[in-house]
Symmetry: C2
Subunit: 130 residues, 2 copies
DNA sequence: CTTGACCTTCCCATGATGGGAAGGTGTAGC
DNA sequence: GCTACACCTTCCCATCATGGGAAGGTCAAG
């Protein structure tokens, strides 16, 4: 399987597959006589794992840790759970920060007439409050 | 006022003040005979505006639009409100995405023993589900 | 043997921020 | 006046994850 097919099969773009290989997240695959990367099913499986970890918001570095745990059959599930819950806390923190911004701005907007008059508490507040 | 004092007074780092000037977000300030940037109160006011807009999650580019509206005394408040509410929607969308990730992962973690045994539904799921 | 779809590596760009080097300036104390 | 120190200047580099694109090699179908 060439990189294009591996990309198709895993949902990771060819560009990113090369990048993940370059930074050492995944193992370099076999090469054909002409230098093409050749992927087999286990490689694609790993790529899918990476894609899903990324879609759960893990950074590439964290994904590397998860991959190591995934491959280590003797790891304790507590290690995985700890990592996961720490990540959950970070995600929730970021979500809360965004929501706080949204709430503040929504509140400001609710006091804005939104017509052709220039008075606007949104800009007034951004320009003057602490 | 030199850039250090302007940074202190506005809450925007000296590094970022220079950057904002470089990309055209703010006007280049006066310069002293020796080339130092010299800021006056209106400049600091603008910098504070920028800091607050950024802290509400507006990108630098969006902040530029807000600044233009702020300075345009004849703009309609509807223009500002439209921009603000669009931004609120984006913020809420991002927050929801993060929360969805957190919820998924928390759910997976809730099924993980978290002890010294290796079985872990978190990794199993990341490694096998669609 | 040509054509087109694929592959390779290499470089560049994004967005917002910080770090740090090399060198000039301004001021306080002696 | 000289020295020390804090500040300023510009310039380059790094981050994180991703995409774009160029220049050139490869492969399979027609």
């Amino acid at each position: 399987m060439n990189i294009g097919q591996a990309a198709e099969a895993s949902g990771v773009s060819a560009k990113m597959i090369r990048y993940y290989e370059q930074i050492g997240l995944i193992e370099p695959p076999a090469r054909s006589h002409s230098g093409y990367r050749v992927y087999a099913e286990p490689n694609v499986h790993t790529l899918r794992f990476v894609r899903r970890a990324r879609s759960l918001g893990f950074s590439v570095e964290e994904t590397g840790s998860l991959l190591a745990l995934w491959r280590d059959r003797s790891r304790a599930s507590a290690d995985v759970k700890t990592l996961a819950l720490k990540h959950v806390a970070e995600l929730e923190e970021k979500a809360a920060a965004l929501q706080a911004m949204a709430a503040t701005l929504r509140h400001l907007a609710s006091h804005c007439h939104g017509d052709e008059r220039p008075d606007c508490p949104i800009l007034d507040k951004i320009g003057s409050s602490s």
